[in-house]
Amino acid sequence: MVERIEELRRGAEAEISSASDLDALETLRVRHLGRKAELTMILRGIRDLPAEERGRAGAAGNEARQALEALLDARRAALEAADLDEHLASDAIDVTLPGSPSLRPGARNLLARTLREIEDVFIGLGYRVMEGPEVELDFYNFTALNHPPGHPARMAQDTFYVDPATLRSDLRIDADPATPGREAENAGGGDSAPRLGTQGAAAAGLLPPGPEDVVLRTHTSPMQVRAMEAQQPPIFIVVPGRCYRSDPFDATHSPMFHQIEGLAVGEGITLADLKGTLDEFARAIFGPERQTRFRPGFFPFTEPSVEVDVSCFACGGSGRLPGGPRDPLCKGTGWIEILGSGMVDPNVFGFVRERGYDADRVRGFAFGMGIERIAMLKHGVPDLRKFFENDVRVLGQFS
């Protein structure tokens, strides 16, 4: 009996191992382990066998049955896996076709991005960001910045004046005959140059105008006095925004452009602090090796005033490109002018003295730079007009 069992097992094993599909495998299961299969019959008849044979035959039969069941399972798994592989193979796609577009993120604006980068540098240095009006009073744009009426520096910035007829009727502010800032320091040595009354001069088409006029701000600096009126020292702010000058469009000018102003006022602030601050700025924006250089400059609202150059990032400051040719970016000087700055003029503090800005007690520095210029230098934009053309092929280059 045991021999017959072994014989059945060997036969079944051979057939199962060579079964080629799941249907054949099921047929084999019925044939070898089904109700009418010989092995099943044998196991069912075990109890009728003589006692001495019963044990051996039963063990052999059960063992054979378990072995065949395991073999069937294994074979089924193998056949199923092969089936799946075959199915998946037939389900293949062309992975080189373009993807189905998700919503394409829009382009970042290089100006806006540069502005944020600069803001973030100064936020890291402890500054807050403030914004001010673009339609601005002459008072803040010029008068309080130590440009008295008739000051030639007013003329240097070609100013757009606003037609008062198109503004609120209550807006006209009386000219302030006293310019308190003039006496902030050196009260004895007053300027004796006679000055003309200018009230309403700009409105009449006669320049120079007076503090009652309204302009499109020519720089972000008017926020200096606005901010100091609103906040006692110390004050550390940057002021980004649009500015306007009547410069016709060319590669480096536009009647509208962007500036960012910086103002830091507190006790013990020095010109050296301005240099350290601008060095940090230059390294953050133009690269870790950069440094700045100060040259004498002139702005009515700073004294001393300095023009600031950054060491050229194209040539590393040598003025020569690899191989010897003159660096066109810095014109061979190794330095690029990036901004104007200086120590806040005591006359400016004179306008906010009652707010805690006593020129003998607090000092500060201010700087202003053109965002377009920084972005042009940093990214090789050849022409300022590109920023306002808004060509999507250009916009898309900056992410």
Binding site: P149, P152, T166, N186, L271, G276, R293
Partner: protein, 830 residues
């Protein structure tokens, strides 16, 4: 300001190459825009020659064959100048010399005669503009008219009498440094930064007055407007011989960019270029009675200026005139009436001080700027007038053979007292953060022309008169010593002490960045458009123009009409940008701008900087709301091989607007709107917290046509509203997990004209507190609903914070919803 190197070196010669000096000046004094060159690039081959003989060229009527002594040898030179004559002392270029412009001179054969060099004209040497004749360094028969002319021996290098090669420093002088509009002022700066010796001032010696009588016998001056003319000085010269200036004078003027005219006028220009003080010469015989009157012009009075133009004046213009009428616009330009001419023999030399503000005003008004007005408008000190008189007198005597009449007519109102600011010890270090020893500071100031006295450790510095309007305070002295000490070399880099605050963005600024990033991530490209537009913009947007409320703010003095008004909406310039891109090959555009509109009137209940509320005591002149605006033309999402494109229609834009609002957590709603630039059936008003905060819609076909677009949609919302209502920063935890929500869908049948918003609000009203949300997810129209009716499907979420809701509770709310819908004629569809 063009400063010829040779002229500068006469007063201060640091023995540096022009580019080295320029670099030093840029770092310590005044920016040098460029270094240019005039005349021949090198001195080699240029010598003085004496014409021995002149003969007619055998084969050319207009050429002469000259024998010229060029020092130890005589050479044959062919010359085309009509004025060449035997006995003249001339300038000669020998073969091998390099001419201005770089051309190298060789031997040339002219109609068969070999010319062994070239006799030069002023123009060829770039020392004058006379190209017709050669320069006569000395006329054929004359003695020296200038000291040093004896050195004009044949063979002498020309560079000994003329500046060859000549480099010119082109300074970009700041408006506060009127002293650097004169060569001597620049020389003083060179002295200060290099310590090279400075020559005595050119005004230290006056001319000897040899004329007859006194100036008062010839002329008088009456100043009617002393507040506009603080000083008017005049000297009289007789026996003046008007003619061309000597070559050295012409050469200097040319190098400085001034065209030589005649010796008298050239002297006035020369002295102005040297001292920054302009002068004006009158032909005294053309001034009736020799009586000069300084007065204000009458309104609409006219006069003809030296440039031949007739100018109309006004009552603020100051004139110098005589009893017959005006002869010069004070400080700006002379007139033709009393111009110095060949026939002039008596000269009245005016050197005056004018009110700078008035000069600036008048020159702007007349659109007339001159070298004189450019200096006067920066305000000169009255002391400078006498300096200029002294130098000019000597030159007029030397170069015009004039005799100076004794006495200076001097109408002086008041000479401002000299400033004497004190520089306290240590103050420079406090302000600059770099220490400068007192001795050093004193030296720097002395070199700059200050009269320095020590008082203890302090310095008291008397300011030179030509710095009077620039330096008056201690802080100004700090700048002087700081810059001469050298920021580049000595200034340390430190960081300020604590700002006493953390640097960070305000909540509004944080949310503005978030809003910009959201819109960008929703597929819109960020643009920056001009805030200045043209007066036609409102019309193209169908807003109407003119004096309506909301009319644009206008610029009084625009550059062009294209940029003369401030935008009142971001839409117009966004459409400009869209059109530009479509014209340049883009098939679709989706653009957004984050920026301001500018309105004369208005305000926002939401407040903040984005609503135009800025710091400062004086309110802003206009209302400048910050807005986020989007437009889409064509597909918002492009098509692919697999999917259709998504057109940028009303709902695509509304999806973007909702995405923006959701990203900020700001609830907003849209109601039918009426903006004139929108399709009247597809226009929405954006409401935030019940307040109008913008618009959304498809653009009116006529607006599209004005921008050559087929179809476009967009929205514009006030940032202040989005920010104010956003919960950002104030959110608190809401337990949505402990007790499950019940989700149910309902279908509501209503009349076609009942808006989804009304249905939703009725559902929310009926649902009460337990109904946490109700969102429309489907709209169905069909026969079984009947004509003019629609079915809206809404997904409802019921939830209580403190318990699991029972079926009964939800059923109760549904009943209430049914009731609320009944009010708007709606029924629940089973």
């Amino acid at each position: 300001m063009r400063v010829p190197s040779s002229w500068l070196r006469e007063y201060c010669d640091p023995e540096l190459a022009a580019d080295e000096l320029a670099a030093l000046l840029a770092l310590r004094s005044t920016e040098v825009e460029r270094i240019s060159h005039v005349g021949p690039p090198a001195a080699d081959g240029f010598v003085i020659g004496k014409v021995a003989s002149v003969e007619r060229h055998p084969d050319a009527d207009r050429l002469s064959v000259c024998e010229v002594d060029t020092g130890g040898e005589t050479r044959t030179i062919v010359c085309g100048a009509p004025n060449v004559a035997a006995g003249q002392t001339v300038a000669v270029a020998l073969p091998g010399a390099t001419m201005p412009g770089g051309q190298k001179l060789g031997q040339a054969k002219l109609r068969g005669v070999v010319s062994d060099g070239m006799i030069l004209s002023e123009a060829e040497l770039e020392i004058g503009d006379d190209a017709a004749g050669i320069i006569e360094l000395l006329p054929a028969a004359s003695s020296a008219t200038r000291p040093g002319a004896a050195g004009l021996a044949p063979g002498t290098p020309l560079s000994e009498v003329l500046a060859i090669p000549e480099s010119v420093l082109e300074l970009e002088v700041n408006s506060n440094r009127v002293d650097c509009f004169g060569v001597y002022g620049v020389a003083r700066e060179v002295h200060a930064v290099t310590a090279a010796p400075l020559a005595d001032p050119p005004w230290s010696e006056d001319a000897e007055a040899t004329g007859e009588g006194t100036a008062a016998d010839y002329a008088s001056v009456r100043v009617e407007v002393p507040e506009l003319c603080p000083r008017f000085t005049a000297r009289v010269f007789t026996e003046v011989e008007v003619g061309p200036s000597p070559p050295w004078l012409k050469a200097r003027l040319m190098a400085a960019g001034q065209r030589p005219i005649n010796n008298v006028v050239d002297v006035t220009n020369y002295v102005m270029l040297l001292t920054a003080q302009p002068l004006h010469a009158f032909d005294l015989d053309k001034v009736p009675g020799g009586e000069l009157i300084v007065r204000a012009a009458r309104d609409s009075e006219t006069m003809t200026t030296l440039d031949g133009a007739e100018r109309e004046l006004d009552a603020e213009t100051v004139l110098v005139g005589d009893r017959d009428g005006p002869s010069a616009i004070a400080g700006i330009m002379g007139g033709q009436v009393s111009e110095v001419s060949e026939a002039t023999t008596r000269v009245l030399l005016e050197v005056a001080t004018w009110n700078g503000v008035n000069i600036l005003r008048t020159s702007r008004k007349l659109g007339l700027r001159s070298d004189a007005s450019n200096r006067f408008e920066k305000q000169l000190h009255p002391e400078l007038a006498i300096r200029a008189q002294r130098i000019a007198s000597r030159l007029l005597v030397e170069t015009c053979g004039a005799r100076l009449v004794p006495q200076t007519i001097d109408a002086v109102a008041a000479i401002p007292e000299r400033h004497r600011p004190r520089l306290r010890a240590g103050r420079a270090a406090e302000l600059l953060g770099m220490a400068i020893e007192t001795d050093r500071a004193a030296t720097y100031l002395e070199r700059l022309g200050f009269g320095v006295e020590r008082e203890g450790d302090d310095l008291v510095a008397e300011v030179p008169v030509d710095r009077h309007h620039d330096v008056s305070r201690e802080v100004d002295l700090v700048e002087e010593v700081g810059r001469i000490h050298g920021y580049d070399e000595h200034l340390p880099a430190t960081l300020p002490g604590s700002a006493g605050q953390a640097g960070r963005l305000s909540r509004e600024q944080t949310l503005r960045r978030r809003a910009e990033d959201l819109v960008r991530d929703l597929g819109f490209d960020a643009v920056t458009t001009l805030s200045l537009t043209d007066p036609g913009m409102p019309g193209r947007l169908r807003i109407g123009s003119g004096d309506a409320p909301g009319a644009p703010i206008r610029v009084s003095n625009p550059l062009s009409i294209e940029h003369s008004e401030l935008r009142t909406t971001l839409l117009g310039t966004l459409l400009d940008a869209a059109r530009y891109n479509l014209a340049h090959g883009a098939e679709r555009v989706a653009l957004f701008e984050s920026g301001r509109a500018y309105l004369a009137h208005g305000g926002s209940k939401f407040g903040g900087v984005a609503a135009g509320e800025f710091a400062g005591d004086r309110p802003a002149a206009a209302y400048e709301p910050h807005r986020i605006a989007c437009i889409a033309v064509g597909a918002l999402r492009s098509s692919s091989w697999q999917a259709e494109s998504r057109r940028g229609d009303f709902f695509a834009l509304k999806g973007a607007l909702e995405g923006l609002a959701q990203g900020l957590g700001t609830p907003l709603s849209v109601e039918p709107g009426t903006e004139p630039f929108l399709h009247p059936g597809r226009a929405g008003s954006v409401l935030v917290d019940g307040e109008a905060a913008g618009w959304i819609g498809e653009l009116h076909p006529l607006v599209c046509r004005a921008w050559d677009l087929e179809q476009a949609a967009g929205f514009e919302v006030d940032l202040a509203a989005l920010v104010a209502v956003s919960p950002y920063g104030g959110e608190s935890y809401d337990d949505v997990i402990s007790y499950p929500a019940v989700h149910q869908d309902v279908a509501v049948v209503v009349a076609e004209d009942v808006s989804a918003a009304r249905v939703r609000s009725a559902v929310l009203e009926g649902g009460g507190e337990l109904l946490r949300s109700a969102e429309v997810f489907d709209v169905y129209r069909g026969d079984q609903l009947g004509e003019g009716r629609k079915s809206l499907a809404l997904g409802l979420e019921f939830r209580a914070a403190d318990r699991t809701l029972t079926d009964e509770e939800v059923a109760e709310r549904r009943a209430a919803i049914t009731e609320a819908l009944g009010v708007i004629g709606g029924t629940l569809r089973e």
